[in-house]
């Protein structure tokens, strides 16, 4: 495929395996993509790490950066959930199984899973930003990974129950004895058995222990803004709090310039940063 000097701008040829709505309001759609060339799949999974993202290419429309929402052990496909917002994500929502699509990646650093070994993990997500945390949780669920980490707590909030992603899977998580799951919605709904309230408040209520723990936070900026101090209040140090950032991106490989946060590029040096790292960078988000 890539006979010439490999271009970081050239997508991997993929096609849509499955496409289905993720939310009842049809604003979120999940695409599972498989590789046209098995060699590309081998190369992808040899380096893929949960927390990384890809640029999906709809030819003629452009590219959109989306976090990977699947773990490597799930199979030779890559899952993404796209919110219908701009012209590319609108085009992504039109795709049907069998349609061709381009993908560049995996890009970025992903979660520092090696450094987290032996620790308890507190995974905190809000809205559609939960996708990479879903990939992380799935990764941890694999029997060969689960033993490397301690207690696993997931806190996931959405505005409404209909906007909750990966519903069936998450419902099954409540039955597992190797993790604790806390779901939340912003306003009360009939038959809702879980928390009602904003994620930062739910975090305070659940009050996870900071001892030998790391917390990972991915959500809309407003949620992240209030969740980080809530964790600091619970005793988490800035070195043990992680978040994944987003900015407008074009190249994904640290060249086009636009996703910089001070001297760091979110695409290349991130998207995952510790709060300690962020505290040393300008507030340019």
């Amino acid at each position: 495929m890539h006979n010439e000097a490999h271009s970081p701008y050239l997508p991997i040829p993929m096609h849509v395996l499955h496409a289905y709505y993720e939310s009842t309001d049809r604003s979120l759609k999940t695409l599972e993509l498989s590789f046209d060339d098995p060699q590309d799949a081998r190369e992808f999974f040899a380096v893929f790490n949960p927390g990384q993202f890809c640029l999906l290419s709809v030819i003629g429309k452009g590219e959109s950066a989306l976090g990977v929402a699947s773990a490597a052990w799930e199979g030779d496909f890559v899952r993404f959930t796209a919110q219908k917002l701009g012209s590319v994500t609108n085009a992504l929502h039109e795709l049907k199984p069998g349609d061709p699509i381009g993908m560049r990646g995996p890009l970025g650093n992903g979660f520092p899973l090696e450094a987290w070994k032996g620790k308890d993990l507190v995974i905190i997500g809000g809205g559609c930003a939960f996708s990479t945390l879903y990939a992380l949780t799935k990764h941890l669920h694999h029997p060969s990974n689960r033993g490397d980490y301690g207690k696993l707590t997931v806190i996931y909030g959405t505005r409404t129950s209909g906007l909750c992603m990966y519903k069936q899977d998450i419902a099954a998580w409540h039955q597992r004895d190797d993790m604790e799951v806390h779901q939340a919605i912003d306003v009360p709904e009939q038959d809702w058995l879980h928390h009602v309230g904003y994620v930062p408040d739910v975090v305070k209520e659940v009050s996870p222990s900071p001892v030998n723990s790391v917390a990972v936070v991915c959500g809309p900026p407003i949620m992240t803004k209030y969740t980080l101090p809530a964790l600091v209040e619970l005793g988490f140090t800035p070195e043990t709090i992680f978040t994944s950032l987003e900015k407008r991106m074009k190249c994904g490989v640290g060249k086009c310039g636009r996703c910089n946060l001070g001297p760091k590029y979110i695409c290349k040096d991130g998207p995952v940063f510790s709060l300690a790292e962020l505290n040393a960078l300008p507030a340019d988000l």
């Binding site: 271009s7 003629g60 429309k61 061709p100 900015k247 074009k250 060249k255 086009c256 636009r258 300008p282």
Partner: protein, 339 residues
């Protein structure tokens, strides 16, 4: 290696190169000087301006360039990188120096840009030192200089009747292989010319401690004041030899994915699909432009990301002067914390 070139032999030499290379040199076109390929009967425009209006980065990162073309049924293929052997003759040291900074962006180990790399490898860069200071330049202030060697395969020093040629690479040696060695006396005179040129360049502002001042004043009201007269036209960035930002867009009718120069001075540059914009006004955008050059580049490669070419000063339609902006920034208080 120091060689000597008689000025009346220059055109002959340039024509000889045209057998093997595409030769670019500064020529006049519509009131401005540009790097254009030499044609029969060319006229060089060395004395018109110290610097071409568009920096020679455009010969490596074109203003618009197709990255891939679309094929039928949703397919696509890479557009091969250009590898025509080229000579760029008469590039000024500030512009050549800037190219070495762009190399750190485009030739990173993990993600090398094949388009940039192919052009860099196929090009010999011959510099022309500046024996007279230009009006808005401030190269010596920011760690470059009128005879800086960075990014050059050879540099010329004007000795009146002759040009002294110093070569710094095999590429440069091969290009000037026909010339005779310079005498010791000629080499000494060149050093004197170079030294005198350097001394004539005024120091435009203090760089010691400037980075720290900018870092500490990220949330300062200074940026509001600094950006007040900015129109947001982006000329300072488009014509900057160290600016490299680009956009990638699909030109569906042409069937190509294209990258175009872009600028952090535009609102849409950082505008996100959600409607959120981290740099919603010219205040944040001006801060980004200056901070990128004077603090972020320093963090990344330990060099100021400006070579003092002076284009942003010369071409700003409202006369914003980065030298004055930085002089003012240097007087900001030290203890302001982040908001």
């Amino acid at each position: 290696m120091n060689l000597i070139l008689k000025k009346d032999q220059l055109n002959h030499l340039l024509n000889a190169w045209r057998q093997d290379y595409e030769v670019y040199a500064p020529q006049s076109l519509q009131n401005f000087t540009h790097f254009l390929p030499l044609q029969d009967g060319f006229e060089l425009a060395f004395d018109k301006a110290h610097n071409t209006r568009i920096p020679p980065k455009a010969l490596f990162l074109p203003t618009s360039e197709a990255l891939m073309k679309f094929t039928r049924f949703g397919g696509y293929e890479q557009i091969p990188s250009e590898t025509t052997p080229r000579v760029i003759f008469g590039i000024r040291p500030c512009d050549a120096h800037a190219m070495t900074m762009l190399d750190t962006v485009f030739e990173q180990e993990r993600y090398t840009d094949p388009h940039w790399q192919a052009r860099r490898e196929a090009t010999v860069v011959v510099g022309l030192g500046c024996h007279e200071p230009c009006q808005t330049g401030f190269c010596t202030t920011v760690g470059s200089g009128p005879f800086n060697h960075a990014g050059l395969d050879a540099i010329l020093t004007d000795l009146g009747e002759t040009l002294l040629v110093e070569t710094f690479s095999d590429k440069g040696d091969r290009l000037f292989a026909q010339l005779e060695m310079a005498s010791v006396d000629q080499s000494v005179r060149a050093i004197e010319v170079q030294q005198a040129a350097k001394e004539k360049m005024p120091i435009a502002f203090e760089t010691e401690g400037l980075k720290e001042k900018l870092d500490q004043n990220f949330a300062s009201p200074y940026w509001e004041e600094a950006s007040r007269s900015c129109l947001g036209c982006g000329v300072c960035t488009f014509l900057c030899p160290t600016c490299f930002c680009f956009d990638i867009v699909d030109e569906a009718q042409r069937g190509e994915r294209v990258r175009n120069w872009d600028t952090c001075m535009f609102r849409t540059y950082s505008l996100e699909a959600s409607g959120h914009n981290p740099r919603p006004s010219r205040v944040e955008r001006t801060r980004q432009r200056l901070s990128h050059k004077y603090t972020y580049w320093v963090d990344q490669i330990n060099q100021i990301g400006c070579t003092g070419c002076g284009r942003c000063v010369r071409y700003c339609p409202v006369g914003l002067d980065i030298r004055a902006m930085l002089r003012k920034a240097h007087q900001l208080p030290s203890e302001v914390a982040h908001a």
